[in-house]
């Protein structure tokens, strides 16, 4: 082990001793893990139902990557003593989850088993806006004070290029198509903006994140997001609202919708049969 690495580990141990540091890191990791986990779950519901077979296959890879990122963040939490990663993903109640509400919303009316009237426009917009938000956060996290999280950010970042390219292509083409597609997409954009603020929210822990140099502030992240998105909006002659909403509440503080309750019910159905069993 190199001298530098040794120093870093000692340093890391000291930091975790620091008042409030562990708690702040834990909160941030929960926000990251829960965001990826629930969106990947929503993606998995689309399997077999996408508009085009080739796209079904491509979309599933993105959902798998995203679930993989969630698993990395849950393992970091496990290392910090928060509990078993599978338990964190499957057994926590809605009120204990920290994901943004935008990501938990159902894909559309119906369930994946019965009359799934899923909305591709909403899916494209939500995923594109989310991946761009994730990208600016991950870039910020490369400089976080918590080294294992910085290392995870470097890895996650590798896969975001493709996710961005994929969703941006769909976004640009469907809006650029005009007609009914543009109308549907514009409605989806309006809907997503109503709760986009929740993606950037750091909840009650925002101050602690700043004090511990964990991640840029909400304002900085929003500015970075707008900086990336403005040229795209301009090219499509679309308007971006000044303020992003959080109409359904702030998921970072444990506020959630019935959609999340229903999702947890489904995603933990087998797990709950026997929480001690090995599956």
């Amino acid at each position: 082990m190199g001298r530098e690495t040794e120093d870093m580990i000692v340093n890391q141990k000291d930091m975790l001793q620091k008042e409030g540091y562990l708690e702040a890191v834990t909160h941030l990791l929960f926000q990251l893990a829960d965001d990826d986990f629930i969106l990947a779950y929503r993606g998995s519901e689309w399997l077999g139902l996408a508009p085009h077979i080739e796209e079904d296959v491509a979309f599933s890879s993105i959902s798998q990557d995203t679930m993989g990122h969630a698993a990395m963040f849950y393992s970091l939490l496990e290392e910090l003593g928060a509990g078993d990663a599978d338990k964190l993903a499957h057994a926590r109640l809605a009120k204990d989850r920290k994901n943004a509400i935008l990501l938990e919303l159902a894909n559309g009316p119906g369930t994946y088993l019965n009359e799934p009237q899923y909305d591709w426009a909403f899916t494209v917009v939500r995923n594109f806006f989310y991946v761009q938000a994730k990208k600016v956060k991950i870039l910020s996290l490369k400089n976080t004070s918590y080294q294992p999280m910085a290392e995870a950010a470097v890895k996650v970042n590798m896969e975001l290029y493709y996710h961005l390219l994929h969703w941006k292509t769909w976004f640009m083409q469907l809006i650029g198509a005009g007609g009914e597609a543009r109308t549907r997409m514009e409605k989806a954009v309006t809907d997503v903006f109503k709760d986009l603020g929740g993606l950037f929210s750091q909840g009650a822990t925002a101050v602690a994140f700043g004090e511990n140099q964990l991640i840029d502030t909400e304002e900085q992240l929003i500015a970075a997001w707008k900086h990336e998105m403005t040229p795209i909006f301009d090219s499509l002659e679309m308007k971006m609202p000044k303020k992003f909403g959080m109409e359904k509440g702030d998921g970072r503080n444990g506020e959630h919708t019935q959609d999340l309750e229903a999702a947890i019910e489904t995603l933990s159905e087998v797990y709950r049969l026997d929480v001690k069993a090995s599956w």
Binding site: H52, E55, A58, S60, S61, Y162, T169, Q173
Partner: protein, 115 residues
């Protein structure tokens, strides 16, 4: 298949690494080349490394008919084009106490300087 429409045929090619040649993978349907490109890797190369991808509209490819493929056959009498036709040089050089500069030897010359 018509010139327009969502279901256009694209042929997908890829390179496994920077130094490998481009290789044919399979075909897919997409409304245009941008979407063809963002779907290509995950449809055909989910489990292998990829260094580059090309998508080509099928109608832009001139393929051979089965009759035309007959034109690819040739007689096995062209040793003069290959090293096989010059193998006798080895013996000649031996006479001058020199090694034959064969393919293996020559292609090794571009390698890095041994340290």
């Amino acid at each position: 298949m018509s010139e327009s429409g969502f279901y256009q045929e694209f042929e997908v090619f890829s390179k496994r690494s920077d130094t490998s040649p481009i290789q044919y993978q399979f075909s897919l349907l997409a409304p245009n080349k941008e979407l063809a490109l963002v779907m290509a890797q995950e449809n055909f190369m989910r489990r292998e490394p990829v260094a580059d991808i090309w998508v080509v509209k099928r109608e832009d490819i001139r393929k051979m008919t089965s009759e035309e493929r007959q034109s690819l056959q040739r007689i096995d009498n062209k040793e003069y084009r290959n090293t096989k036709g010059y193998g006798y040089l080895k013996k000649k050089w031996r006479h001058y106490e020199q090694d034959m500069l064969d393919e293996k030897e020559i292609l090794s010359w571009g390698g890095k300087q041994k340290t």
